[in-house]
């Protein structure tokens, strides 16, 4: 097979994996503050539906991205109310949010099934325009793809180089100690959920406004759960999340390559790769707690009266 078709596969994989990188980064922030969000699947659906609807109504994809992003943050505030203010169990609340997302997204998206939109415009990086058109068509990406890796660095910087990030990680490790050192664990967890929700919303925006450019019920197809797996795979490190998203994209690319050279292997089996690899990685760590798992992950903060 030619170089061109390999590059085509690569380009396709990048399109498929971008939404997952944003979502994984969002979940990294949640989990660093000590919250497991299993409601991501619901968040992605609601954000994707809202973004698609707004794009369809306004004709402006950037407005749609904005709407999807904000929706992600707000959706997580409901989750935050349950697990932070009402101190409900995180796993059960997350699953409840998932069902909420199933319903709400169906309601929002119902009128837009089969609608067509102008997706996010694709921009060619300056300097590449001299290449032949066949090549440039492969490397015309939308702005969210260009921003994905810088955003991963931004999240890394926020978490590891700012006071806010230090406080957030402290809350995820030991809530009481963070409180004793003058931080407000509840507020920080709300902030983490909001900011992480914005990022996941961006991922959903890329999914429905740039990648599929269509709305369908349950269109996220388990991406929320893949993101949870990839967070563990990347050891709660934003930069390693890039590798995690590549793992997913790679599995898709591999599938496309095999198809193009005539090998028939089930897409279902290839899709299990991110999960299986994550389980193997967990086994390889061998129960060693020193792999930067936030120590208070999943614990409820009851406060100090």
């Amino acid at each position: 097979m030619s170089l061109l078709s390999i590059l085509g596969v690569l380009s396709g994989a990048i399109f498929a994996g971008t939404s997952l990188l944003y979502t994984t980064l969002g979940e990294v922030i949640h989990q660093r503050s000590g919250i497991v969000d299993l409601g991501l699947e619901g968040l992605l659906l609601v954000s994707a539906a809202t973004g698609f609807a707004v794009t369809s109504l306004s004709g402006n994809p950037y407005l749609g991205v904005l709407a999807a992003t904000l929706t992600g943050g707000l959706f997580n505030m409901v989750f935050g109310y349950l697990v932070i203010s009402r101190q409900a169990n995180q796993l059960a609340s997350g699953l409840a949010m998932m069902f909420f997302g199933f319903g709400l997204s169906a309601l929002i998206g119902n009128a837009y099934v089969g609608a067509r939109i102008n997706g996010l415009p694709r921009i060619l990086l300056p300097g590449l325009s001299d290449l032949p058109i066949l090549w440039t068509s492969l490397f015309k990406f939308d702005i969210l793809i260009y921003l994905a890796i810088p955003v991963a660095f931004l999240v890394w910087w926020l978490l590891f180089r700012t006071r806010w990030g230090l406080g957030l990680r402290a809350v995820g490790e030991n809530t009481d100690a963070a409180f004793a050192s003058g931080r407000n664990p509840r507020l920080i967890r709300y902030q983490a959920l909001f900011f992480g929700g914005l990022l996941a919303g961006l991922g959903a925006a890329h999914l429905s406004i740039a990648y599929t450019m269509a709305w369908g019920e349950y269109m996220t197809a388990g991406r929320g759960f893949i993101a949870v797996a990839l967070v563990i795979f990347s050891r709660w490190q934003p930069l390693q999340a890039i590798v995690g998203a590549l793992l997913f994209s790679g599995a898709i690319a591999f599938q496309l390559v095999l198809q193009s050279i005539g090998v028939r292997i089930s897409g279902f089996l290839l899709e299990t790769i991110p999960y299986v690899v994550t389980i193997l990685v967990l086994i390889a760590w061998g129960g060693n707690r020193k792999h930067s798992t936030p120590a208070s992950l999943g614990r409820i903060y009851y406060g100090r009266e």
């Binding site: 409901v78 797996a229 299990t272 967990l282 061998g286 129960g287």
Partner: protein, 345 residues
Amino acid sequence: MPRRADTYRKILSNVVVRHLLLILLALFLFGLIVTIYGKDPFQALKDMFAFTLGSTYGFSEVIVTMIPILITALAVAVPWRVGLINIGGEGQLYIGAAFATWGALTFPNLPPWILLPLMMLLGMLGGALWALIPGYLKAIGLVNETIVTLLLNSVGILVVGFLIFSFWHSVTDTNMTVIFVPAALLPTFFGTRIHLGLVIGLVLLALYWFVMKYTRWGLEMRAIGGNPQAARRNGIPFKGYLIIVMCIGGAIAGLAGMAMVSGFHHRLLYNVSQNAGFVGFLISWLAGAQPIGILVMSFVVAIIFTGGTLLQLTIALPYAVINILLAFTLFVVLSRQAFFERKKA
């Protein structure tokens, strides 16, 4: 002691009143959403309750819907008693359904009184094997069971997809198998769609209640769940319990899968579970793994789902919208649980 009895009565009436208020709140929120969508909320709720509780057919459909979620709730409750969080009922159900389907497709000529028990055993075996992975990894202290069961859900679903699309699909449809032979179908009752799975679920529920309350195993399991350190020092075989109990949970979920293919769909399809594994987890959690609570909660959730099917027909709401009512019900119950949670933590 009259004063104490008084307090109890007060607490009881308090609990009943509060629960009624919570349910009303959930219904109100759902009505609000229906109103925003431009439909009549009172008509919707009236239709829903008149159908599910007021008609024989509707009620039988509620029971049919209740069967899988009742069983998967037990699949979560059993491991929970030793402190294991099994969020993988969904995957275990799928693998159990696949094993049972293999039996139905491979031995179509067996008489039903051999084939059905065989399929049940296969379903339990499938679910138990799928739960053995997280159970074993947890028992040897390698990996937390919560995350492994969660990840294996997606793997189980994909494996079933692979089996259907690659080997088992029917000639006309690539995402489901052919209808099973009559010998592989669970008998139904009273001319409705209620199938033997109901009996399986109720027997399991009774067994669960009996074992936990009256046997040594139940006592030891509760001991491990209550205080693992103390249990280990008292000579309870800790690791063995973790593995076996996890596998029992998986086997129960696998049985739910068998009941779904053999009693409900009459075939294996890609969407065999309709999220029953996750719903079971929520039910078990909300009921605090108590047998009566599980029965009541799965009945309530079944009413909601059955009502959703009806609203799709009568006022053309998308079926998925009923998930909002389910979520609101969960929200109000979850946010009330702070007190209960604290005791556990």
